[in-house]
């Protein structure tokens, strides 16, 4: 089976490199001594794509050289992503407390451990402590409840 780490990493590099180069070519290129904004990123993109190609080919031809790719566990990944995104979206519009609450809810769903009482306690502690430290202590301009 050739779906090894090396192969997938190579593919990933090809995608990033290719995409970056494609976008870079739409910027002004200039010359090697008078580089425009597009020259360097285009060059990089092409090199990264080449590296990715070599990695992928190597992995394909000798799959025993690399380990099989591990499974992506979607559940914790999506939930943590959702939690951080929720925090980001809520902190300006609803304030720090709702943002922390949302983050912790998603975090709890990703972790699936612990009882409800413990969760409420965590909610309180992890909301009150940061408020004291950041807002009152460091005087960072965050709003607890947005107006």
């Amino acid at each position: 089976m050739y779906v090894t780490k090396g192969f997938l990493a190579g593919l990933l590099f090809m995608v990033f490199g290719g995409g970056a180069a494609a976008i870079a070519f739409t910027y002004r290129m200039g010359t090697a001594t008078q580089m425009g904004p597009g020259y360097f990123p285009a060059l990089l993109g092409v090199v990264v794509m080449a590296i990715g190609l070599v990695m992928a080919i190597r992995a394909y031809l000798s799959p025993e050289g690399s380990e099989p790719a591990e499974r992506l566990h979607l559940r914790p990944m999506v939930l943590i992503l959702a939690g951080v995104v929720a925090f980001g979206l809520l902190i300006r519009s609803w304030g720090l407390a709702p943002a922390i609450a949302a983050l912790l809810v998603f975090g709890r769903m990703a972790g699936r451990e612990g009882g409800p009482i413990e969760f409420i306690l965590m909610l309180v502690v992890l909301t009150v402590l940061p408020i004291i430290v950041f807002i009152y202590g460091l005087r960072i301009p965050l709003e607890i409840w947005a107006q």
Partner: protein, 333 residues
Amino acid sequence: MKNGAFGAACARTFALAALSAIIGLGAGTAASAQTYPNQPIRVIVGFPPGGAADLLARVLAPHLQQELGQPVIVENRPGAQGRVGADSVAKAKPDGHTILMSTEGALVITPHMGEALPYDPLKDFAPISQVVGFAPVIVANASLEADTLADFIALAKKNPGKYSYGHSGIGGPNHLAMELLKEMAGIDIAAIPYQGTGAAIPAVISNEVSLLAGAIPALTPHITAKSLKPLAVTSSERISSVPDVPTVAESGVAGYEMSSWVGLLAPAGTPDDVMETLHAAIAKTLKNPQVIKSIEQGGQTVVGSTPDAFMKRITGDYEKYGALIKSLGLAQK
């Protein structure tokens, strides 16, 4: 732990969070029904801490707090040369609790540089007051074979393309000042961009570039230490903290004038009585002798204009810079 019990815990948590949010919002709405100001006032600065607008805001904040009776908090929202900060105030609630302290860049220069702006600099803001005016000073490396701007212009004309100047960023006021000088004086010098005046200073001290236009506070220490020579200031009149430095106009480029300002603005649609309160507060603060001293020590001049005068200044500058950028061919697209 069983899924059922956890599901119940989740539901309880959501309910708790929702309830608290509602209470919070309710408390908020009740509060805004009272007289202004009834909450802390946030002064948004579109640059990271340490810049001209930021330091000015921090100097003024405690006094404004005294005048307005509510905490005045300076909040930095840096990004895109002030555009992020300006945008956030343009879209803020026009109740006077979120105001913008901005240099002219984000309002009258960057709109002409080619990128589409998410706000309209003339329509989305209600100017409160132009707080200070300031102008960049043009300095040269200490070993330059010219001691005045007039001499340098002669030198540059004899050696086109030989000299270079550093500036704090394409489309910034320092860049524009030097490009205008080039055009009006008819000289050919190369422009070398840096990430801000701070990054350009070592370059001009070490003679990587010959000239630099930058804010007076950043350059005064070096002028005093004689590692840089001041050539001219770009304003129309000499500046009190550097009285011996002639203006560019005095140095042989008649009619040259370029100056910057920092001003306070509110979102458009802010009620008139709120605007009056804010203007009165800033006007009073700017009469405080300590404040005046801090400002003038920084090479800036106190202005403190009325909202109408400020609006006129903004509109005038908008057109002036538009024409200038077009004639210099600096727009990106």
